[in-house]
Symmetry: C2
């Protein structure tokens, strides 16, 4: 069957950014310049023009930007996303007969025979029908004028008339008759009758700045009491806020704050036969005292929670809640909505199992329930409940055990009214599943960083996640430790290992977090050899921490957060670039940020000794272009960790790093004066 | 908005083969095994199953093939395309509760406490609720039985009953209760209630074998007369057919056979002021004697054309016609359909121009005509006219000067009734345009091969075009020369250059062609220095060729075509692999074909000296896996050009090639006996 309009001669292909054929909106951040590119071409030799159309979902009309031709039929244009939320863009491209005419006329004029030339070759050139070409141009301008109005139309008609006059007024040697302004005026009224557009509108989702650049601090509120005999409260947390803010964090993240189930409650060190006074795991949610929309009575009241949020904000931070959709057998839903759980032939409810392991303290939700619609609505309402209390940041526990279609719906529903909500996906699972969750709306994601310790695997993984296609939808958040994960490196590497993993986390990605105070106090003893669980894990018992410990890493954390705040290069992931070092124990990478109205261009080079035991040294082979440095140039590097300055030269430079120093974080200082 | 069914938990991504998000059917050849792959995963830990559904457009039902899980959530399956034409495939994937239950039961059984064990750890294992698991299994089998019928249903019900009996019959130590046959029976009746499918049906187009593997010979029929005073005819061509067939060609391609225009007729060497007896260019189509559906009277009648086709077929070949949509000013359409041409303000018709160059003997068609529908229909009918006379192969001149939408429609229309038609795109233009034409239905395409002469550029280009995504829609046809292109290499390189380009063309791709007899007779003089035009080009005058010349390359051509016919490795493009050689003047590459019922596995290694002047030597560093050879193995290579045998060993082997020999085409002979 023929198309409705067979005269659309322009083809549009390879439109970027585009995730999974446009199924998933590409993700950008507030203020980003979005570079759109496409292959655009037509049959034959006629010129093509193209423009990018974009709009925020609240805009009534498209904004238009001319696209620029690059080599090999590629075209590009940029637009700035100046509001958060949903954006669309499309491309319009057409055969531009006006532009073709201008170019051809210039070629004809350059080849016209000149009777006055002393060169017989130029005198005898074949005629170029220039009056005819001028007449054709006049007709084109008539049509352009018909698409314009007001002054523009008048001007365009005048040009048409002058071209006609010129054509009638036989000349020996014609000059090009249009000014750049006249060409530009005509180009403003293209003939779009046969313009092609992308088959679908492409979508973008734009998040606020904190989705790109954030520093998370996780603590257990119940461990914050200054009185060892007393369960910590929101009020106790408030007392710590100035200290946490002073360390430079901007998101305070609390494990679930809901009532904890009694049935099959776990005791210290995951014991299944605890004392009656065991506090239980905050992730076993729900009891007679309530569920996802209730607060554990020992933490405080709703009024105290509201007060905490206000205090967090007053300290320049935001509060993140943990939403973990898995019920204790005591959760009210178990009796209110029995059909949200799987029932076994013996009448019992199916608890979580990974045979032969049993987790009888947890009932998973059955997403194949006939009442899946009711279940979805209720889960969404849990987020909405806390959003309505002022929470904007959520760490979502095990999202990969709930259907991806559910998340796509739920997060889109929530974002419609709350586009500034941030959702961190706590999915430690296979790559496709982790990426699938990001595509369905999670703002940030936990990563494999924790288990990437060798130089080659760090480089391969970070090159994967900081470049398209992955970076178009996935934003990493790096955690050197979590309450669940004490990596072997930290168990055995001593203070140098803690420093190393912290420096990597704070500089490899723009978002990171630590589970504190276990991290800054160097907690490193596992439940048993070979385990990644903490001994006396805070998941199962209240801990007391001596935040005044002289060995605390808090000063280093404070310095690193300060460096991150003052160096825009460290506030986004996309410029990450690895530089070769002739020592497999030393990793070097740079990040950069272009100059803006507020700040000059910023170049950071990080060099880390991955060996926590011995000094390592080697030659860094800099990719100078990444650092804004020219071949054979002298430049200065300032180590932001020590304040030391070094004079470096050209690409090859020597480093030697003792484990006690762990790393250099160099700011590049260009010495040239132009 | 919630989806219609929220319980479809499986996600399908990255489906291959897929061209441009499914917009373009992926291309395969008759008999190909089509490997389909996808990322398939669900939330949580339940097992997933998947099947590939495929059908030829004429099949009423889908055929189903189970998919196999690979690492990292990738799945694959294959199907054989045993008919030409349009195929569809899709994937169905679901959470497989039966498979999950089997796997979990095995784990439970492996972990059950054994009261008879001497090992207290095994005696005291926690109970595994096996009777409950068996009861759950019985319920599953009941449901599976309800989806089956006949004997299968009866058997499945019996299994359900036996599981129930086993559950009731308390045992100290349970055994796994199912046989592999029983598991397989159950798997035949999956629960597809919540199965996911691909968002669209994926399409394939399957061409016949000659679309993949073909050897073209182009000649000008008017130059085939044995009497220098007489214009050659179809009957003269017939006399040459045994010779051309004996050289091993399977497609005889003729430049346009239509009446040639008189207006602005070009004379010898593209002269614009020829003698009145000039024969003109066959590409200036149309005169008072007719146009695209007429035959040049001096070539013969329709009856003689029909006779020629029959004779071509009798010689085991096919005839290819050249369809060049560009009219001479004398073409009947110019008066019959003036609105298919662009008219200028002075009333004249716009001839072809590339300012300042003019081609007044050619009127391009105006695809922006208001009667574009009539024009499209007429162009299609030109192909149909010759198809109806038995032609199945078309070489299409300059398709890139007609809209891509036109080709998509036209070729699809023609293929609906004539799926065995082959269309060769003669587009020497930018990559996106060439690939765009292939995506819109051209079977084969001319390439940049003619201008790729250095080792590095040959390797880069052929790696691009013989691998996905390009190879999923683009099939190269390599031409060392054409009537338009006498490359500098042939002008200056002597016989060695001709041999080299011929060997490259016949072995780098499965389809190639030569413009003969200019090629085999070593025609190498350009119109002027720096030109790629032939002096005394056959495009503008009748030439006489001495096919009996002792220096003719016909024996080498014959040998190469024989090698191609007897070595399946050379009959497809996809296995091409380059092997490093420590000399930039020597290029080495291999191709292979797997064993089939008809022939053993076939491995060919080609080593070409790219220097037509001097002997070159070097060490070939073989990628042994590509040749089916093991590390440190001895093997024999037989040079199919000379019959010489050499004993080679392991990966590093020495070659020295004189320009007179030009190349080795080695067949690998494995010496191991297992």
């Amino acid at each position: 069957m023929k198309p409705a309009e067979g005269r659309k001669r322009v083809v549009l292909e390879h439109i970027q950014p585009q995730v999974d054929c446009g199924r998933t909106p590409a993700r950008r951040f507030l203020g980003d310049r979005v570079a759109v590119s496409a292959a655009i071409f037509a049959d034959g030799h006629d010129h093509v023009s193209a423009r990018l159309l974009c709009k925020h979902h609240s805009d009534p009309d498209w904004s238009s930007t001319p696209m620029t031709a690059l080599p090999n039929d590629l075209w590009s244009a940029e637009f700035i996303v100046d509001r958060i939320g949903s954006w669309s863009f499309t491309i319009q491209a057409w055969v531009d007969h006006f532009d073709t005419w201008c170019a051809d006329l210039k070629k004809r004029l350059a080849a016209q025979p000149d009777p006055a030339s002393p060169d017989p070759e130029i005198r005898d050139l074949p005629p170029q029908d220039i009056p005819l070409a001028l007449t054709i141009g006049a007709t084109l301008f008539d049509r352009i004028a018909a698409r314009a109005s007001g002054d523009d139309a008048t001007q365009l008609k005048t040009i048409a008339a002058s071209l006609r006059a010129l054509a009638g007024n036989k000349s020996a040697l014609y000059q090009y008759p249009l000014t750049a302004q006249q060409e530009e005026l005509a180009a403003r009224y293209p003939d779009l009758s046969f313009a092609s557009t992308t088959e679908q509108e492409m979508r973008l989702w734009v998040d606020r700045e904190r989705a790109r650049f954030s520093s998370w601090y996780e603590l257990f509120p119940r461990s914050t009491s200054t009185d060892p005999a007393r369960h910590g409260t929101f009020a106790d947390v408030e007392l710590l806020l100035p200290e946490i803010a002073a360390m430079g964090f901007d998101i305070l993240y609390l494990p679930p704050i809901h009532p904890i189930g009694r049935a099959y409650r776990k005791g210290p060190n995951n014991s299944t036969a605890p004392n009656p006074d065991a506090v239980g795991s905050p992730w076993a949610i729900g009891s007679a005292e309530g569920g996802y929309q209730s607060i554990h009575p020992k933490l405080g009241s709703f009024a105290e929670f509201d007060h905490l949020i206000a205090a967090v904000h007053a300290n320049g931070m935001e509060l993140a809640l943990d939403i973990a959709f898995q019920c204790s057998p005591d959760h009210p839903w178990v009796t209110q909505h029995p059909d949200w759980f799987l029932h076994r032939p013996d009448g019992t409810i199916q608890y979580a199992e990974n045979p032969p392991k049993k987790y009888q303290d947890i009932y998973p939700l059955n997403f194949e329930s006939p009442d899946w619609r009711g279940l979805w609505d209720e889960l969404r309402s849990v987020f909405q409940f806390w959003i309505d209390r002022g929470v904007r940041v959520f760490r979502v526990d095990n999202p990969h055990t709930k259907p991806l279609d559910f998340w796509e719906w739920c997060l889109a529903e929530l974002r419609r009214d709350t586009p500034d909500a941030i959702f961190l996906s706590e999915a430690f699972t296979r790559p496709h599943v982790m990426y699938g969750l990001a595509k369905r709306g999670f703002t940030q994601s936990y990563t494999y960083f924790t288990w990437r310790t060798e130089k080659s695997e760090l480089q391969a993984y970070f090159e994967e996640i900081t470049r398209p296609p992955i970076s178009d939808f996935f934003t990493p958040n790096l955690w050197p430790n979590t309450p669940d994960i004490l990596h072997a490196t930290l168990q055995t590497g001593g203070r140098a290992a803690f420093q190393q993993r912290l420096i990597l986390a704070t500089t490899l990605a723009a978002s990171y977090g630590i589970y504190g105070p276990a991290f800054e106090l160097g907690e490193h003893v596992p439940l048993r050899p070979g385990s990644e669980e903490y001994l006396h894990s805070e998941k199962y018992e209240i801990r007391r921490w001596d935040r005044r410990d002289a060995n605390s890493l808090a000063p280093l954390i404070t310095l690193l957060n300060q460096i991150r705040r003052t160096n825009p290069a460290l506030q986004s992931d996309l410029s990450l670039h690895f530089h070769p070092v002739d020592n497999s124990q030393i990793i070097a990478y740079s990040k950069s940020a272009p100059a803006t109205d507020e700040s000059p261009a910023n170049f950071i080079l990080v060099v880390v000794n991955l060996d926590p035991r011995y000094e390592q040294s080697g030659w860094v082979d800099l990719d100078l272009k990444q650092l804004g440095i020219r071949h054979n140039e002298n430049f200065e590097v300032e180590d932001l960790l020590t304040g030391n300055h070094y004079l470096w030269h050209d690409r090859s430079n020597y480093v030697a790093i003792h484990p006690s120093a762990t790393a250099h974080i160099f700011r590049i200082i260009h010495m040239r004066t132009e």
